[in-house]
Amino acid sequence: MRLKILSDKAKAAIEAEFPKYPDKRSVLLAALRTAQDEVGYLSEAAMVDVAEILDLTPVQVYDVASFYTLFNLKPVGKHVIQVCKTLSCALVGAGGIIEHLQGRLGIRVGETTPDGLFSLKLVECLASCGTGPMVQINNRYYEQLTPEKIDRILDDLKREGKSSLASGPFQLPVLGGRS
């Protein structure tokens, strides 16, 4: 059967995971990630394609896709901003960051800007507790945020689609001991 929406490249990427596991079903989460990366969200057609590739029923795929907040079953903005609001971040000002983002973007949490550029979500712990407040935008972390930093990040993303304020690898809060 021909696939509805996924490319041959996505299909090959999914099939490349098969040798890792004794059965095809185990590849489901990886397959959904691949599909979401390609389509932008998990449309019905994308889920049917995944079911086809993995010899599952569409319902089995939907059951898993709808369980995880990681998967978007509806279209989202080009840049999905996920703000951590768990205790460690809340203690150092996540609330103010959320307010500021809502004000700047003119949307509430859970919404997408009319131009389709930004979606705003609240999430639980992203394991950056030592460098809060922080957000994840698509696959990058932005840490030790201030309202000014947020403004610069949003401007960068609008203008260039990326921002140099993203945390680089191997930046540490404080590692070690006595100073």
């Binding site: 990630r33 609001k85 404080v174």
Partner: protein, 432 residues
């Protein structure tokens, strides 16, 4: 005191480091990395490795503090066609971010530890289950795996022997419950992260793909190669008799220097906060500390001379958990803190057990009502009632953790809750 760090894999003074240089393959080998593996295969044998880990007293760093050797032994004793090892680096517990840095700074000590563990328990396949949000860390781990494979440390004919093992990365979906031992197995099998009912079957009996399985935390496995290479006495030289070794603490909240601190187990909580963390932010007074993440009880400022080890914290009714120490100053509202936790658990509940799905949501509602100033005496009673009703229920520990945390905050800071009701507003932030 000098301390060999799993964070950096070398002896160093406990000094503040602001950057970490990732330890690549050559550097790891220069530090005598990958020498434990030939010793294990050529001299110790699987039973010798198991014996050393048992004698070392290494306890699981994932929260429960279960003896690692004992966990391995339960799988060794099972007869099965296949056995599995899963390394748990899902890391979604609020306040915890140590695995992220262990993966970044020294992937090879984890790889060598995982190979040794697989060798000891007779597993031919290892799943490195890593938080899927850690894209850079996963990439780095994949490169390290490739380098180690090219040098013949894993694959077939390891160190010229008949021992073969495959290591594979599996991304976790980045939700809290997906780090629970049996929910993890469900995720690797491609299902929703719903913890399994246990008893009757624990992972050691029926784990991944129904086969005996060991699930070890990334920090636990990061200690293994050092123990095999340096010896049991070396490992036991730090920490306490019942909690040997060091632990990577993650210190967050209202402190001047939040961050990662690897300290010998048994170090005092006061030292961690005052000496390493630089004291409370803004010169404020300390109010409360969660010494072991959100599934253990809160402790008051007067108790911070407690030793940070599994048993000392248990002795005062709390627990070490994953070593996630969250500090709250006098300015923190303890109703807000409880709401943070209750909401967290309500959101992260997998929803399969009704007491959890309903209980955590109900708790959030009552607490939010109290915080907003609309609460009354009945709501205060309900907090404890609901906590009592849900404790110990459900397939996993999530619900019990939630009730323990919220109940302890409520009991210890009851007067703050009463003040919210009496004043009709939060005394710290006003009416919401």
């Amino acid at each position: 005191m000098q301390s060999r760090h799993v964070l950096t894999d070398r002896d160093l003074l406990l000094e503040q480091l602001l950057t970490v240089r990732p330890i690549g393959y050559e550097e790891y080998v220069r530090r005598r990395g990958y020498t434990a593996l030939p010793t294990a295969i050529n001299t110790l044998g699987p039973s010798g490795v198991l014996e050393m880990i048992k004698r070392s007293g290494l306890r699981g760093r994932g929260g429960a503090g279960f003896p690692t050797g004992k966990k391995w032994e339960m799988v060794v004793q099972r007869k099965a066609d296949r056995k599995y090892l899963c390394c748990n680096a899902a890391e979604d517990e609020p306040g915890t971010f140590k695995d992220r840095y262990l993966l970044r700074s020294n992937p090879h000590q984890l790889i060598e530890g995982a190979i040794l563990a697989a060798y000891a328990i007779g597993a031919a396949e290892v799943y490195l289950y890593i938080n899927g949000r850690y894209e850079e860390e996963i990439e780095f781990m994949e490169q390290a795996l490739q380098a180690a494979k090219e040098k013949g440390h894993w694959g077939t004919c390891i160190e010229g022997s008949s021992f073969a093992v495959e290591l594979k990365v599996c991304k976790s979906p980045g939700t809290y419950v997906a780090g629970e031992e049996t929910a993890l197995l469900e995720v690797v099998e491609g299902r929703p992260a719903k913890p399994r009912q246990k008893p009757p079957y624990y992972p050691a009996v029926r784990g991944l793909f129904s086969m005996p399985t060991v699930v070890n935390n990334a920090e636990t496995l990061s200690n293994v190669a050092h123990i095999i290479r340096e010896g049991v006495d070396w490992f036991r030289a730090r920490g306490t008799a019942s909690s040997p070794g060091t632990l990577v603490f993650t210190l967050t909240g209202d402190v001047n220097r939040p961050g990662l601190y690897e300290l010998p187990l048994g170090s005092s909580l006061r030292d961690l906060i005052e000496v390493y963390g630089g004291g409370i932010r803004g010169g404020k007074q300390l109010k409360a500390v969660f010494p072991g993440g959100p599934s253990n009880t809160v402790i008051a400022a007067a108790q911070i001379d407690v030793a940070l080890d599994f048993d000392a914290l248990k002795g005062i009714g709390s627990g070490l958990g994953t070593g996630a120490v969250i500090v709250m100053s006098e300015e923190a509202c303890m109703v807000q803190s409880a709401i943070q936790y209750a909401r967290f658990f309500a959101k992260e509940s997998c929803g399969q057990c009704p007491p959890c799905k309903l209980g955590t949501a109900h708790l959030s509602e009552i607490l939010e009502k109290i915080e907003s100033g609309r609460g009354d005496e009945k709501d205060l009673q309900q907090v404890e009632q609901v906590c009592g009703m849900i404790k110990g229920r459900g397939y996993c520990y999530l619900l019990t953790g939630a009730s323990i945390a919220v109940e302890s905050i409520f009991r210890r800071f009851r007067e703050e809750y009463v003040a919210h009701v009496k004043q009709g507003a939060c005394p710290l932030v006003g009416a919401v």
